[in-house]
Structure formats: C-alpha cells, structure tokens
Assembly symmetry: C2
Homo-oligomer: 331 residues x 2
C-alpha cells in the first residue's frame, strides 16, 4: 500500500501517463495541451484529489499572487468597504489578500512592511497616509508595486489613488458658509487625514472672513460613543456653535443621538456634518450631511493599476477619485 501523502504534480502525471511538465501546462496554459491528454489529466486530478501547491508555484515563477493590504484596523473602519471590494476583485483574478493591521498610528507599519516584503507579495496596498519618511524610503527602494489609497501625497511612493483631504476640508467650509453658518466647531480624530481636512477647513474658513473655528480632538478609531462625548463637550465652549463638523459619520451619528436625548433639535439648534457617507448617514434621522468618497471606485482603480502593472504597462502615479459633499437634513 502506498503511503498516504498529499498528491503532487508527479502523482497526477504518472497516473495520466504524461510528464509533470505537461500537467503543469494543463494547469496554467490549458490550450497548449491536446484535448485527449487534457482529458486524461483531468481524470487523474479528480482521482488523486490533487490541489496544486501554490507555494512551489510562487517560488518557481517569482510571483506569489499575494497582495498585502495594510490598514489601521478593521473593527470600525471607513476603509472596510474599499478593502472588501478589493478582496473580491482580487479573488476573481486568482490573487489572495493578506490583511495586516498597522494600528491607529501606524505603529506596526514597519514590521508589517517587512513581513509583506518577506512574503514577496506582488503588491502592497497602503490605506491612509504613511508619513514616516523611513518607511517611505524603504518601500521606494524595493521593486514592489505599492499603492497608497485614500490620500493623494505630493510625492507618491509609487502609485497613489485617492483624493485631497485638504481640499475636502476647504470645500466643506465653503459649503457651510454658503448655507449661512457662522460658528463651526470641528471634532477631529487624531489621524493625519482628519488633520488635513481640519486645516483645509480652517484656512478656507478664515480666508473667507470667518473666525477661526473651535475644535476638539478625539482618539481614533472614531466611533459612536465619541459623538456623544463630543456633544457633551460642547457645553465647555464659550458659545454654542451653530454647526459641528465631525471627522466621521459615526461621530456625527452619536452626536445627533446625544443632542436629541438632551432635547436639542438637529439641525435647528445645532447642525451636524459627518464624513464618509456611510450607509447609516443616509438612514439616520435626520439624514446626515456628509462627504462621499467612492470606496468602490478606489478599489476598482487599484485593480486596474495592478492589472496594468502585471501586463507591463505604465500607469499614472496619482489618480484622483475626488469626493462629493452630500447635502442632507442635518446641516
């Protein structure tokens, strides 16, 4: 009796009466093998229960079909839709995604970059903004494709797909000013992205003749509870703002719920805006005015870039997917 062990290409080949090379070709470039041979191989594969060892394949081809996605977190993340869409698309192409968590402040970024490099991933997808110059230099020096998403750095490591956070902040300032608000208050998660939006907002607001907005910084990841907290913190301000600009839809949602519980009407007594246009923003009562970013579009662009690279084509290095302010009931 033969020892039970997981079958290899050889086993299939032997059974089909061909060489391993032919089986390999059958698997990777089916049209070069003759129909009759293919049929025998198919039968042999079924009989042996053979599952190709992608590790060996990766070593031989120097192509892992592994894509690393580095994200701060997934428990409550605005990137989840994008990541989900990416995983789906990539899976359809025969790639797998190894998901690595870098932590809110990218503390584990360096380590995860090393791991990704060690696994010889075909590409590294960064989410958020990597500000550490060492990490940037390190990535640049490798040949690997690296795609920065959700931001649009002046000097991308390789390819970047996103939008200008600063500009989104400015646009929101313009929008609210146009609606007649006069005393905005910012609730700003401590992340580079949020900070950029906040400073974009502030600069534009002031340039347009407004007083510098008040602000509250909150920890990331942002969540519903912080919205409640942020509402209560409004009491500490010298004057109640007429609109609170929140760094995320979750914060906006929490703030609205807490305001209502306190008997304050939104937007009549205080208006609120969010960021992200999560599904809940449209479902909340009142519906939340927010900034829409097309995460699915980002995912699609990522795929497009990856395919182009695989085909050896050149690709743009900065792809702006833009954003839109969605005016709803809350502001």
């Amino acid at each position: 009796m033969t020892i039970a062990r997981t079958p290899r290409l050889d086993d299939v080949a032997a059974r089909a009466g061909v060489s391993a090379a032919t089986v390999s070709r059958f698997l990777n470039t089916p049209d070069v093998v003759k129909d009759a041979t293919a049929e025998r191989i198919r039968e042999a594969i079924a009989a042996t229960g053979y599952v190709p060892n992608m590790t060996a394949g990766a070593l031989a081809t120097n192509r892992s079909r592994l894509i690393a996605a580095l994200v701060p977190d997934i428990a409550q993340s605005i990137f989840n839709d994008t990541v989900e869409a990416m995983i789906d698309e990539l899976a359809a192409d025969g790639n797998s995604v190894v998901l690595a968590l870098t932590g809110a402040d990218n503390r584990r970024l360096d380590r995860e970059i090393s791991v990704a490099l060690g696994r010889r991933v075909d590409a590294i997808i960064l989410t958020g903004i990597v500000s550490d110059p060492d990490a940037r230099a390190r990535l640049r020096s490798q040949g690997t494709t690296v795609i920065e998403t959700w931001g649009l750095p002046d000097d991308p490591i390789d390819v970047s797909i996103g939008f200008s956070h600063r500009q989104a902040g400015e646009e929101m300032a313009r929008f609210l000013r146009g609606r007649g608000y006069r005393r905005p208050h910012l609730v700003v998660p401590r992340s580079t992205r949020s900070e950029r939006r906040a400073s974009g907002f502030t600069e534009r607001w002031v340039r347009d003749g407004g007083e510098a907005p008040t602000r509250l910084d909150v920890n990331v990841p942002s969540h519903f509870g912080q919205g409640r907290f942020s509402f209560r913190a409004l009491a500490d301000l010298p004057e109640r703002p007429d609109v609170v600009v929140c760094g995320s839809d979750w914060i906006a949602q929490g703030l609205i719920v807490e305001a209502q519980a306190a008997g304050i009407r939104v937007p009549d007594q205080v208006a609120v805006t969010g960021f992200g246009n999560l599904r809940l923003a449209g479902d909340m009562r009142p519906t939340i005015t927010t900034v829409d970013v097309d995460g699915g579009r980002i995912a699609r662009e990522v795929i497009r870039v990856l395919r182009a690279r695989a085909a050896g084509e050149r690709v743009e290095t900065r792809i702006d997917v833009g954003f839109r302010i969605i005016a709803r009931e809350s502001a």
Copy 2:
C-alpha cells in the same frame, strides 16, 4: 558592476564568509550560532538589505505560516472584532492572515477553501456556520487544522469555538418573559445563526406558555437601515408588539432611532433588544439590552488551539465560550 537583484541567503553568506546554512540557522535558531559569527552575519544582512524569502522557506519546511480566515464579509460584520484580534495575535507569532470573503450565504465558500488549500495554509478559520455537507466533508478529508468559530456544531469538522445560538435565543426568551413582556416580535436576518437563535427563542417562548411570536426576515448583512425599515413594518402587524427582538445591535439601533423619530418612546411603548453587544449598544440612547459574545475570547482560544496544534498537543474539539445577556435600558 554586479547586477542589482534582490539579495539571497547566498549573498549574505558570501559577505559574512560563512555558508548559507549558517545564515539560515542564524535566522531561525540564533542560539546555535557563535556570537562572533552572528555579528558578522548581522552586518552582512544590514549591508545587503536582505529580506528572507518566506516562500522558499515555506516550501522547504512545508509550513506556510499563513492562516486563512474565511468570513462572510467585513463591511459590517459582528466578526470584525474577533478577526482583528486574531490577526493581531497571529502577527505577533510570525503568522499572516489571508482574509477571504465567502459572501453572505457562503456562495464562494468552496472556491475559497480550494484557494486556502492550494496555498497550503497552516489552518483555516471559518466564521459562522458552514452547513454545506460537501464542504464539510472536503475539509475533513484534508489534514489541515480547521477551526469553526462563533458556532458550536454537534459534529465539528475539526475544532469549534463558539456558543450555542439556539441556547442564546432560549435565554433571551426566558429573560424577556421574566421582565413581563408578552408580545415579542422577531427581526431575523437570513443567516443560519440568526435562524437558530430565532427558533430557540420561539420554542422556549411557546413552551413557557406564550403565543408564537410574530417575525420579519431581513437580508444580511444587517445594518442600521434595516432597523428603520423593521420599525415601519411593525405597522402591518395586527397588534403592536411590546418588545422587538433584533438579530443585531445595528438593527436595534436603527429601529430605536426610527421609533423616536415617530414619537414612540423606547422602551415605554416598545422595548427593543439587540445582539452582539457592539460598542454602540452601550452608547446608544437608550442603551441597548443585548447579548454579549466575547469575540476577543474566541480569538484567544483560536490562538491557543493553533499553538497547541503546532506543539503537537491534543486539543478539545468543542470549546464553549458562552454568552451573556446584558440588561440595559431598551428592554
């Protein structure tokens, strides 16, 4: 001039004046190499910028240090905390997680199982309940460690870590009956897990002398908007329920918001319960009565099992992490 190419073990070895084997040992079992040698190797690694090729390592050791996590989705999933905790823990052990999405109804499960097997992952972690007998048989026949989480099947594929959904339903029935509610209405996401809780609830409720609860089925993944929808659907019932048992905290939250918008007080006019004890459940106004499942504990047990397996120890096949009903304001 030497051709630039990514450095290999050989390159480091040559530079350090030792054999590749020694460098390999330095990397994997540092204490067996002499200090002076180690120092030279360290220097050589730094000088060459060498990053070990884990693909080659995996092939040689037949150990990929890759764990596949198959989840229905991540956009809005009650499993996210568990997955996040697992990824963190595994990363600390030098493992990486390849995340695969199986879709709400496990439609892509088969394909993802094949991919995981092909990548020769060290373990497959399933989330939710895999009811397809073919998939179960297929997994069982492989030697791979497979861990089913968030459920507790009678006959685990290999190891299962979770709790009894049926029992959670029963417990909720008991709890609400004890609080004096009489006309429960169930909002049930179309997933095996939710269905088990619902039938556990119903059976217990009836056994205890209640009338069979009314119910509404909603699609997965469940979200805030469905809660709003579910509230409006209450109008179609012959009689308004006194408590709505929701399949998730998100649904509960949406339902509460919509009820309040309609001027209905929670819990006075209608009580609400959720499931999952997400952070927002404690933050919502009113706070939401729900069922707590310790996702972090599940993650820790997964790690423990994986380590035990790696060490060649035997492990239990069913690990019950239980659940707790968290009584709050909403019911």
